[in-house]
């Protein structure tokens, strides 16, 4: 544990909770693809990534308490901090690919900024995750670059960038009560989030430039702070996602499964 001031650590824990909730929702949504992807190799790839993301969620919740399942599943909806992008079901494979690309590009930047964290346990999680994230990103960019060379790929995928990029900016926001400047000053996070977001946008721009496309970036997150996932507002998709996660658990909360 770092020796940062208690209020800084409270903010750091809020940030970790947000990251963990992102991973939980993404992992849950990616798991849906088992046996129904475009081809078996892709089912295997997406569900490996799903397992990695759920593993990251478990490691992050583990930084916050011993009862990982209670943290992951037993909170009220307004207590979750997930970005709305991660709550989207994306039952269309093209949607899943674009979200996967935006998310894993963002994660690579986010984890890199935490890899040398003064919160040593967080740094260890970040370094392990970063190594996995690079292979996720290879998978996403490999498919994206090949598909964007085709007319069908461009017409299916590029409109989704317009749809998702404003929402995806929320990945670089922190919950209220979590002062990013303090986290940087305390060495918990290496760089300001605005820097991280700029690096992410540049990486996204570069990946789609070959298709003659320029995403329109909002000046700030398109989601007003009061309606943001980070502030505890859940998207329309969360209720169904959460109901599925806890369907068996809620049969009997005292049971050991």
């Amino acid at each position: 544990m770092t020796d940062s001031a208690p209020e800084v650590m409270d903010g750091a824990r809020e940030m970790v909770l947000a990251l963990a909730d992102d991973e939980l929702c993404i992992g849950q949504n990616l798991a849906w693809w088992i046996a129904v992807g475009p081809f078996l190799e892709e089912d295997l790839a997406l569900t490996s990534i799903s397992q990695d993301e759920l593993g990251h969620a478990r490691a992050l919740y583990g930084l916050l308490g011993d009862d990982v399942d209670a943290l992951a599943y037993a909170r009220q909806p307004h207590e979750y901090r997930s970005a709305h992008l991660t709550e989207l079901p994306c039952r269309d494979w093209g949607e899943t690919l674009v979200r996967h690309f935006l998310y894993d590009t963002a994660e690579t930047v986010r984890w890199a900024a935490l890899a040398d964290s003064s919160w040593e346990a967080l740094g260890a999680v970040a370094r392990r995750a970063l190594a996995e994230e690079r292979s996720h990103l290879r998978h996403a960019t490999g498919l994206l670059s090949r598909l964007l060379r085709t007319e069908a790929g461009r017409s299916q995928l590029l409109p989704l960038f317009d749809q998702f990029t404003p929402m995806a900016c929320e990945l670089f926001e922190l919950p209220p009560g979590c002062a990013a400047d303090d986290l940087v000053a305390a060495g918990i996070m290496a760089r300001p989030l605005s820097d991280q977001r700029a690096e992410w946008q540049a990486a996204v721009d570069e990946a789609v430039a070959s298709a003659g496309y320029q995403p329109q970036w909002p000046a700030d997150s398109a989601i007003p702070a009061s309606a943001s996932g980070r502030a505890g507002q859940r998207s329309a998709h969360f209720a169904a996602l959460h109901a599925e996660m806890v369907e068996v658990l809620s049969i009997d909360p005292t049971a050991v499964w």
């Binding site: 295997l44 569900t47 499964w257």
Partner: protein, 306 residues
Amino acid sequence: MRSWDSMEDFEAFLDDGGLVEPDDDMPDAYREAVFRFIELHANSEYMGGLTERDWIAKAPGLTNKLTALAKTQDEIGHAHLLYMVAADMGVKTRDEMTADLLAGRTTFHNVFHYRAHSWGDQIAIAYLVDAAALASQQAVFKNCSYGPYKCILRRIIAEEGFHMRNGEELLLKMAKGTTQQHEMMQEGIDRWWWPSVQLFGPDTRPDDVLLRWHIKSERNEDLRDRFVQKMVPQLTAAGFTIPDPDLHQDPETGRWVSGEIDWDALKAAIAGRGPDSARRLNDARLAWDGAAWVRSALDEAAAVPA
């Protein structure tokens, strides 16, 4: 590439423990029979993945979710390997096998024509179906004459063994759990017992070429009997009952004797008239057709230099 002058020579080679490789000039009847067998196995792993996927999203807790996902991913991985080995035999391409499966022209195991109704069913699948499948696969692996199949069966068996142990562990949790958990597990056993027993198939015919050509090494009835002898005491000890009112112990041998097996249920399921056959194939078709643009765009991209 090896070739044989006659079927007698080929069978003598097999009887000596010879392993056939894809580029060998194997007899057409052998190629066809082994291909059909591997294709059935591949289809079954794939449809098994579809059967199990209903409960992955709902699996209770992160550890169970990760384990359930990894298990089903193993099944899809098996399907992937098996389709590749089958395609190498030169009878059908992977796409042709998929098309035949989705059109109902080829079959998959009876158990994957049923629906998993609860988390208890999901455990019953791991415990009963995976144990039955493992026993069958071990019997094929033992003496398998087709080299590439034997090679991937080694890996499949290792993973199925893990699934079965996971099933045992989860079943014991349910056995020691709340009344509701116990009931849920009993219902799962009630639903999956008979399909699992039927999975071994009717008694093997004496002229079964799969036995003669060392694909199968044991008769269906022997494998089925061993399954019953193993499962009945385990389930009973855990406090569960077997949904077979005629099940009894032979007073002389002490062996468990099943009641009459409803082979019509097996035939109906395999013919695509099982309780969940239509939904299973429909899910697979929707997924396959819905992503057709991805496959054709990737083919197109592969044909054009970057």
